[in-house]
Subunit: 343 residues, 2 copies
DNA sequence: GTGAAAGCGCTAACAA
DNA sequence: TTGTTAGCGCTTTCAC
């Protein structure tokens, strides 16, 4: 913007936008009174409230929350860090988080690390620099350096999607180990004895996989045929994985996939090859993607509650931001195996 | 009257965190010099740079960008407003936007309006209050009030996913009318003459639909059997829609769906009923979801480039934030009809 | 209920 | 290349 309006000495700084001072002057009150009329209207006389509101309406004043945050050391901003938005799972969490926060007057700032996690440290610094009132992390924190910075910042942190005994601060998750175990028990109870696994290579998927394999052994089921694919997983990888599994020549009558998309891929390839699901092959997914029930055959899967993760995380952070203490800092939201037609 | 502030007994404000002053004192320089060492290291002597960096390392200083933004009137924050994150389409845009911005040192703030759009005004105020360096909107802006506030704010705006002659500011989109026309031409060229439509009720889908229907008439194809479903659309709605279309008794040999998920639903239901795709029924989607090519049969669809939308939008905003003027404010990224097995 | 003063932590402007 | 000064726009603290 080209300003010629510099009548006296120093050039004008600032954005030129309407400020609380302008509103106050117009309403004939002190700035602090205008501030109170905006933020705590109940502590101001009716007359003042009316005049301030009129001034706001006539000027189109929008409070500068940057300044407010700086002065009050409360930003009403919450940061969320996810490996990736693709994959419908974290998505649902982010969506629920955004909504729950917006309802309380908070905004969400989003950061993606990629599954590699190398960008995590930088990203974290960028985030901490904005002094959010809370940080929601996907997964549990591992880099010691990041952990240190996070703790030093004093910002409330919620780790999600996993369990650990030593959370940085608060935690909303469930046990991937338990998922692996229960899926194994599930296959076993249904008489399946030739298991395979198609799994992403992220840490949580790996944890489910290890538990699943250990359970297989404990239950006397032969070695699990495993195909590991890079996260985020796709339908195409599921198709390709089944091709590989079949090519191995080993018998397979049940596949546990680390995502519903992989499972859909396996089912798609099975159909293309005339393999009957669930007759010849049971397929179990993970995530209970919204369309899992509408597939043909309907997909059996592990249901977690991604939206619940978001809501609980939001509640944790808002509580802290408002000075309440959170008594139970770890929430296990559990999961359910939903049996449908594919098993 | 200028009184030198003597730090006597007033209670301490602030967050207690390490500030630039602390770093400067430790390094034995003035605060502004420390600031330069951090932000424009090339304009500071090697010696100073070294001392400041040491001070930063030893204190764990993280700059307060709230304060920096306030002073410089540049927040390096960009807001994105989407109807919903579900549906893989906006998602890809948001993802690309986040990445492109992060690469330039900007962060993304996310807002969801829901398709109803009633929350848009409030959301916009919350966003403007944070003084982002740019706002990326999904769709073109319609509420006159919002438009006014947006213009008054002086913040660069990019509308996306649609075209209009009167953008608020900048625009990255494509013509939904043209999509409707070309899909009609596509079906016609392949000898299909009994068309149906399964479409979400959001504005952009409606625009494609209207153009598609008009083209049908112009091409002498009978009235298009239409089933409108609420956005965001799901696989289940696609299945149900095909059931309804078939129940009407009217012949159908081609369906244009307003999303790939709807198309997958239609294909799923067709398979469940033994209807051959594409033999008896051609199915065309919209969006080219990542797994469209891996379906069986592979899904023909309209490919747009959601990530390109994000990248272009990011480029627009960064350009503006850095004071460059954007010569061509409207970008039509076009689309392609990708023919695969389903047609 | 209202106001004056003093910062929050940083950077733009000006000066040396 | 470095420093001094004066804010950015708001809210805290303290006083009336």
């Amino acid at each position: 913007m080209v300003t010629t309006a510099s009548p006296s000495r120093r050039a004008r700084r600032g954005s030129g936008a309407v400020t609380l001072h302008d509103v106050a002057r117009l309403a004939g009150v002190a700035p602090i009174t205008a501030s109170r009329a905006v933020n705590t209207p109940e502590r101001v006389s009716e007359d003042v409230l009316k005049r301030v509101n009129e001034a706001i309406a006539s000027t189109g004043y929008v409070p500068n929350r940057l300044a407010g945050s700086l002065a009050s050391t409360r930003s009403r901003l919450v940061a969320a860090v996810v490996p990736t938005l693709s994959g419908p799972i974290f998505l649902a969490t982010v969506q629920a988080l955004t909504d729950a926060l917006a309802a309380q007057g908070y905004q969400l700032m989003l950061g993606q690390t990629g599954y590699a996690g190398s960008r995590e440290d930088d990203l974290l610094d960028a985030i901490i620099g904005r002094r959010p009132d809370g940080i929601v992390l996907t997964g549990v924190m591992h880099s010691a350096e990041s952990r240190r910075r996070l703790e030093a910042s004093g910002i409330p942190v919620v780790e999600t999607w996993d369990l650990t005994d030593q959370p940085v601060d608060m935690l909303v998750g469930f046990s991937h180990v338990e998922v692996g175990r229960q899926v194994a028990a599930f296959f076993h109870a249904r008489g399946r004895r030739a298991w395979a696994l198609v799994s992403g290579d992220d840490e949580r998927a790996r944890r489910r996989r290890t538990a699943f394999e250990a359970s297989a052994q404990a239950l006397g089921v032969g070695p699990v045929l495993a195909k590991v694919v890079p996260s985020p997983t796709t339908l195409g990888m599921g198709r390709a994985a089944l091709v590989e599994l079949l090519a191995s020549g080993q018998a397979v009558d049940a596949v546990f996939c680390s995502s519903d998309l992989l499972a859909l891929g396996v089912m798609t390839e099975a159909r293309a090859r005339g393999i009957d699901v669930p007759g010849q092959l049971a397929v179990l997914g993970f995530g209970d993607i919204d369309f899992a029930a509408d597939l043909h055959p309907a997909l059996s899967t592990v249901r977690i509650h991604p939206d619940l993760v978001g809501q609980r995380a939001a509640a944790f952070i808002v509580a802290r931001a408002e000075g309440r203490t959170v008594s139970e800092k770890i929430v296990d939201i559990g999961f359910t195996i939903v049996e449908r037609a594919s098993t």
